[in-house]
Amino acid sequence: MENIIEVKNLVKDFNGFKAVNDISFYVKKGEVFGFLGPNGAGKSTTIRMLTTLTRPTSGQATVAGHDIVNEPANVREHIGLVAEKLILYDRLTAMENLMFFGSLYHLPKKETKDRAMKWLKILEMEKWAHKLAGTFSTGMKQRVNIARALLTEPEVMFLDEPTLGLDPQTSRSIRDFIKDLHAHSVTVILTTHIMPEADELSDNIAIIDHGKIISIDTPAGLKASIKKDNATLEDVFLQLTGRNMRDDATVHIPSARGHMFGGKSRIR
């Protein structure tokens, strides 16, 4: 099967700190690709580079056949993003949000409306369509947020911790939803800290730490790689990345440092 994402020697250097340090991997069309790693390992930076939100320092990558540095506009037409932060306007209704983002992709109004209604229905949000997003619970917001990302029916979906802070019911429904996407051969890049979630959903998993990919394999392959009976993905993860907590993060991670000076978004 063809590769929808190809990454070669990608580096992101934040003033001397290599958040992503020479990583290479590829993702096959239609697969769910799990992207695991401790906090500050470089997952989000990689996703931001692949979604053209951050320019790489060096290296190359293509998404849906387009170079992320030279053809960012083409890349953007094929991707959907559910980031750490919700991409929704609190003072707009769910429908207004969807209509607005749809219009940025130059979809016909009618088409946008039909698709928005369809996704809201599937995500059980249709009766909230005309309520302000700011009044929703985290789970409801995340569902509208996912509807927003799917509105353009992207070939590649980037899901950065989509179940973070959600109740088990909503998490479950989002996981089912990812499976559904998979069944419709949408490529999904999924980052998560929930090991069973990654295990359940992913076809392949990359484990990243200190800006480097330390292992890529199928969940079964990863579990077989360590010497332990009935090993879980968590065992693999802890063995590969060590048990030390990343308490030095605030010193070395630019995103954390940026946060201390009043904003996280300036440097990531």
Binding site: T51, T52, L53, T54, R55, A73, R76, E77, I79, L81, A83, E84, K85, L86, I87, L88, Y89, D90, R91, L92, E96, F100, F101, S103, L104, Y105, H106, L132, R148, G258, F261, G262, G263, K264, S265, R266, I267, R268
Partner: protein, 403 residues
């Protein structure tokens, strides 16, 4: 061509979304109206004008018993403002020292001392004097007070002079009959001043501050509005949603610029409306020129707004940066105090502040009814400033927005 159309239609969609978002915040909408009212009231009422002064406590120590000094005291007591209230509330004291003590105790804002030989000196054809004692702890009041007292004293003085000169003319008329034809007033004050106003009536302070506040509000809403709007989206994460959409970076900036233009113009017009309805300000100039000037103000400050929004990572820092720029502009642009009253150094600084030109041009049009030919230098300066700032800001924004 298609590309440009696409950029514009995308930016209009962004602007529409911003305005929808803006109007949903009812609290903000309310304050958009309240803020200029506060500003007008504050600036309009706290600065003393001749009209706003009434019943100023004035001490008079008149040791003279003659008719002339009594008339002078009477004149001071009866002095009225144009709306008919007494300017002074007169208290009587016995001597200079008691006057000075009363000023120190802040019982009176100034004093007049007339010595006991006042009438006698005049009768003996010598120069008599009345002493003004100002309250130096209150420079503004004391300045006005001194002016008024000098007016009264010199008025009295002229009156006496006229009588005396008339007497002299009458006496010398027997020798030279031509002299009796002369008007003593023409000899005492050969030059009279007359006023020919550009606009009818007396402009009030509101008339002076309204154009300045309009300029100020337009500037603040564009600069702060733009920077806060971008940094808010950046903080919330919604900016990423715009950046991953297949739209040009330029349409994102333009969209923000459009929405803030609408907001700035709306706020400017609200100020004008309030000024007209509540504060009785009258627009003597052409409305179209005024609107064009406001629009130009928006254009001039757009660049700074974009630049700050590109560089500030968070709403808080955007606000702080804006305050640093805006505060000196506010006070040095001649919005509240005439630039001519500032020290020389400050006058030079005010010349490099674009807000000065926006305010001056609006004031010329609104108060003096000036046409385009009188404001074209300001128009040119604002246009060039805006164009240069945009030429710097737009590429910076495009470069910085994706790190």
């Amino acid at each position: 061509m298609n590309n440009i159309l696409q950029i514009f239609s995308d930016s209009f969609r962004m602007a529409r979304k911003d305005l929808l978002d803006f109007t949903r915040d009812k609290m903000q909408l309310v304050f958009v109206i309240i803020m200029p009212i506060f500003m007008m009231i504050m600036t309009g009422f706290i600065f003393p004008t001749e009209n706003s002064l009434k019943d100023i406590p004035l001490g008079i120590a008149n040791q003279d018993t003659g008719q002339i000094s009594a008339t002078m005291v009477q004149a001071l007591t009866q002095m009225k403002t144009s709306d008919g209230s007494h300017i002074f509330s007169v208290k009587t004291y016995t001597d200079v020292n008691s006057l000075k003590d009363a000023i120190k105790a802040q019982k009176i804002n100034g004093g007049v001392y007339i010595a006991n030989d006042f009438s006698q000196m005049i009768q003996q054809n010598e120069q008599a004097s009345a002493t003004i004692i100002p309250d130096q702890s209150n420079p503004q009041i004391s300045q006005i007070l001194t002016q008024l007292l000098q007016q009264v004293i010199s008025g009295t003085s002229t009156g006496i002079a006229q009588t005396k000169v008339g007497e002299m003319l009458r006496l010398s008329g027997t020798a030279n009959p031509q002299l009796t034809q002369l008007d003593p007033a023409a000899i005492i004050s050969p030059v009279q001043s007359a006023t020919d106003n550009l606009i009818p009536g007396k402009p009030n302070y509101f008339q002076f501050v309204a154009p300045g506040i309009m300029a100020l509000i337009v500037m603040m809403s564009v600069m702060t509005g733009l920077a806060v709007s971008v940094s808010k989206e950046r903080e919330a994460g919604t900016l990423d949603g715009l950046l991953i959409a297949p739209v040009s970076r330029l349409s994102i900036i333009l969209g923000k610029a459009f929405s803030q233009t609408v907001r700035g113009m709306a706020q400017g017009l609200i100020v004008l409306l309030l000024a007209i309805v509540i504060f009785g300000v009258h627009v003597y100039g052409n409305w179209l020129i005024m609107i064009v000037l406001m629009f130009l103000g928006v254009f001039a400050f757009m660049g700074i707004g974009i630049l700050v929004s590109a560089l500030a990572s968070a709403q808080e820092s955007a606000m702080t940066i804006m305050m640093t720029f805006q505060f000196p502009m506010m006070f040095l642009s001649g919005t509240f105090f005439p630039i001519q009253q500032m020290p020389k150094v400050m006058q030079y600084i005010s010349k490099v502040i674009p807000l000065t030109y926006e305010g001056t041009a609006l004031r010329k049009v609104i108060i003096l009814g000036a046409g385009f030919s009188s404001v074209w230098t300001e128009v040119l300066i604002l246009f060039v400033f805006g164009a240069v700032m945009l030429a710097v800001a737009v590429p910076t924004f495009r470069r910085v927005i994706t790190k």
